[in-house]
């Protein structure tokens, strides 16, 4: 084993592409742990509610009911119940629409908030929401475009997020120098800080300043405040960078920091082997690689080690045992392909469908739960599947469609109740309408008017006589009539002094009646006029009510027809949408299965190439042995 012995590995041809892809991947992945879906509604501080409907929308959103939130928001907007929240409500609408996958609607709303009629804060928040969306869709150019006018004057989380997002987008468009500059002024020390430092380190390495980048990666890789997976990642990136710059000893030291129980353990072990090999310590490379080969061959790093290990033996250590090691590795890789074939069979037999159905039916279950809900032959591969964004996208849409379908089916039942409710109201109306329209009511009303007219006529006639006795009260009229009768009877009797006292009494009483009528004459005229005016007012109100009823009757009919029309239209929309939803669910499920098949095929193809490569190396070993005339390996 010598330095020269390590050279045949000739990894120099591998490194540039490897490193480039690795670093790019690390940079792009450094947003792990950050919430790029944050919207106006997601800010943690309590929101001041000035319209109850706005608070209701927030309640549904914060409670995890995205659909309910966006529907309630649109209802509140249609009912003009958000007057105190103005642009906040629009920002919320845009954020909710983005979150619910209504990108076109969201962009329409958020771009509408970018003009000068809105405050700088509203414009900044709208731009940030648009930038997050562009980034999530994998469009760094648009991310940069929409962030471009955003000033970094503000402090705190908003500033950090803009800065980090801008740097990530710059890295993605291959402008690492600009990305490094963007992050150079990073100030805060909150949870985003380690990610920012990591990204800056990657940007520095990629912009040709490896010393600065490696120093920063060293800091991130050691800092106990940094989340452990990010520390591992920093050390991994540093290790492969140092391999690239032919500093294997320093690389080995970085690989050695990576936790063996972390997500980067196998990549770290593989790197450690390469570092040892680069340093000419092939024996030392055997340690990590042998350790890797004891692990399941599912992991690509293990597969890589399965080929690298016999290769090292073939090159320098023990050519005689190399062939057997190649055979063993080929066997394990073959077995792995066999497992993939079994998984593909299970997939073809619908093995994923029940698991997906269960996962869709339980929105609270994490995607990883799928592993426990598929046949054992598929379970091993499902972990990789559920980690992909494409899978998560399909699953989210499937869950949304499930919720939509259930909602539409609920409405389909409820709308029958609407029909019933409307029918009940209509029946009640039909029952009462004839009463209202009864001609006897009109006749009675006409009779009231006729009686009023007669009263007026009588009153005016009596008034014209200018005789107070024409306006006697009923009691007075009765008394007056009786006194007149007494007078008549007394006049018929012969003159008799004994009757004079009665005649006097009759005259006095008749005078009292007249005196009282005369005294109260003006008041009685006023009272009669007032009473007649009241009768007029009551008759006018009666007229109004009758007219109102006529209108109500017509409007009720129109209202029933309006409701019936809206119910019918909604019912048609439900019936049109339901088959589309079912169709989309089926297509989404098919796409998910196709994605699983695609991943299995890709794995199988990679293994096929590895096996072919191993067989080629094995054939070369036999050929070399045959040419040398020595013992056959």
């Amino acid at each position: 084993m010598s330095r020269a012995g390590a050279q045949p590995l000739r990894r120099a041809r591998l490194r540039p592409s490897f490193l480039r892809v690795l670093l790019l991947a690390l940079a792009l992945g450094s947003a792990a742990g950050l919430s790029w879906t944050a919207t106006a509604a997601e800010r943690r501080e309590p929101t001041e509610v000035r319209d109850l409907a706005y608070g209701d929308v927030l309640f549904h959103y914060f409670a995890g009911d995205r659909f309910g939130a966006i529907v309630r928001l649109e209802v509140a907007q249609a009912q003009a119940l958000l007057e105190h929240h103005g642009d906040d409500a629009l920002l919320l609408h845009g954020g909710l629409a983005l979150d619910y996958g209504l990108r076109r609607r969201a962009r329409e709303i958020l771009f509408g908030l970018l003009d000068e009629t809105h405050t700088a804060d509203v414009r900044r928040r709208a731009r940030l929401a648009l930038a997050r969306d562009a980034w999530r869709r994998g469009d760094p150019a648009e991310t940069l475009d929409v962030l471009e006018p955003v000033e970094l004057e503000t402090r705190g989380t908003l500033r950090d997020e803009v800065q980090l997002l801008r740097a990530l987008a710059l890295l993605a468009v291959d402008r690492p120098d600009a990305a490094a500059d963007t992050l150079a002024g990073w100030e805060s020390k909150d949870r985003m800080a380690p990610f920012a430092h990591f990204n800056r380190a990657v940007a520095l390495v990629r912009s040709g300043r490896p010393d600065e980048g490696l120093a920063l990666l060293d800091t991130v890789g050691r800092d106990p405040v940094t989340p452990a997976p990010l520390r591992d990642r920093a050390n991994l990136a540093a290790g492969y960078s140092l391999l690239e710059t032919r500093e294997p000893d320093r690389a080995a030291e970085r690989f050695g920091r990576i936790r063996l129980e972390g997500p980067y353990a196998t990549q770290g072990l593989l790197g450690a082997g390469w570092a040892a090999a680069d340093a000419g310590r092939l024996q030392a490379a055997l340690g990590p690689w042998t350790r890797l080969t004891t692990q399941p061959a599912f992991d690509p790093a293990v597969q890589e080690a399965l080929i690298a290990l016999p290769y090292v033996y073939a090159q320098t250590l023990d050519p005689l045992s190399a062939a057997a090691r190649f055979e063993a590795s080929i066997g394990r890789l073959d077995d792995e392909r066999g497992r993939i074939a079994e998984a593909e069979d299970a997939l073809a037999a619908g093995g994923l469908l029940d698991g997906i159905a269960l996962l869709v039916a339980d929105p609270g279950a994490p995607a990883e739960a799928l592993v426990e809900r598929v046949p054992p032959s598929l379970a091993l591969f499902v972990g990789e599947l559920v980690a992909s964004n494409r899978f998560r996208g399909h699953l989210e849409r499937l869950r949304d469609l499930e919720e939509i379908q259930a909602g539409l089916e609920d409405w389909r039942e409820k709308i029958e109740n609407f029909d019933l409710m409307l029918a009940t109201r209509e029946a009640r109306w039909a029952e009462r309408a004839p009463t209202v329209q009864d001609p006897r009511i009109a006749e009675a009303a006409d009779d009231f008017v006729a009686r009023r007219d007669a009263l007026v006529e009588t009153f005016e006639a009596r008034l014209a006589s200018d005789d107070p006795m024409a306006l006697l009260t009923e009691e007075e009229a009765d008394a007056h009539a009786r006194l007149e009768a007494v007078r008549t009877r007394l006049e018929r009797l012969p003159a008799d002094p004994a009757l004079e006292a009665l005649r006097d009494k009759q005259r006095v009483l008749a005078g009292v009646v007249r005196w009282q009528a005369t005294r109260e004459h003006a008041e009685r005229i006023w009272g009669a006029r007032k009473a007649l005016a009241e009768v007029d007012a009551q008759l006018a109100e009666l007229d109004d009510r009758r007219a109102g009823l006529e209108v109500a009757l017509v409007e009720a009919r129109t209202g029933f027809e309006g409701f019936a029309g809206r119910i019918d239209e909604a019912r048609d929309r439900i019936e049109t949408l339901l088959p589309r939803v079912r169709g989309a669910r089926a297509t989404e499920t098919e796409a998910l299965v196709a994605l699983a098949r695609e991943q299995l095929d890709a794995r199988s193809e990679r293994l096929r190439l590895q096996i072919a490569e191993a067989r080629f190396e094995l054939a070369r070993l036999y050929e070399r042995a045959a040419l040398a005339g020595g013992p056959t390996p």
């Binding site: 649109e74 999530r136 409405w411 589309r580």
Partner: protein
């Protein structure tokens, strides 16, 4: 081994990056026809639901008789809400048990519409009973009541749970919105 090792290493790298990329979707689905179709469907369903909610409200809860009861929580340091029972004119009309997520939603500024009802014009009485954990994690049950007049327009009532710093106790009240 060397030239042909590249695809395997590239594969390895792809596997490496597959782990933690919730932020940006390097393998996110493009704006596919399927995604567009689902987006169209969602938009149509949101619009339909909006129209149905409005129709339902107009049909079943006309504004002349409509009463809405909301619940809000301000701070909530002294009280961990578990349930609310609502009585209108002596009759229980709502009883809600809160999930931790709903309580969190209230803490973050959400306002829950607890009840929607029809009431005739005139005087009515609303009683709310709040149950949960009070100071020192003790069982806590308090009530609040409001007499109000239902007029021609819709009536909005808010049940409020607030912290009284002075008393180191929760406060419960009910207020009418204009």
């Amino acid at each position: 081994m060397v030239p042909s090792r590249f695809p395997i290493l590239a594969t390895l790298v792809l596997a490496l990056v597959a782990f933690p990329l919730p932020g940006r979707a390097e393998d996110a689905p493009s704006a596919s026809a399927l995604e567009d179709e689902v987006q169209d469907l969602k938009q149509a369903v949101v619009a339909l639901n909006r129209d149905l909610f409005i129709l339902e409200e107009e049909l079943l809860f006309p504004s002349s008789t409509q009463v809405q009861v909301f619940l809000s929580l301000d701070v909530g340091t002294f009280f961990a809400l578990e349930s609310v029972q609502l009585e209108l004119d002596g009759k229980e009309v709502a009883n809600h048990l809160y999930t931790p997520r709903e309580v969190e939603a209230l803490h973050r500024g959400g306002v829950q519409r607890l009840h929607l009802a029809n009431l005739d014009r005139g005087d009515h009485e609303l009683v709310a009973l709040f149950t949960g954990r009070g100071p020192n994690d003790r069982d806590y049950r308090r009530g609040a009541e409001l007499s109000f007049e239902k007029t021609l327009g819709p009536k909005y009532v808010e049940l409020r749970i607030r912290d009284s710093e002075a008393l180191q106790q929760p406060e419960f009240d009910i207020r009418e919105w204009e």
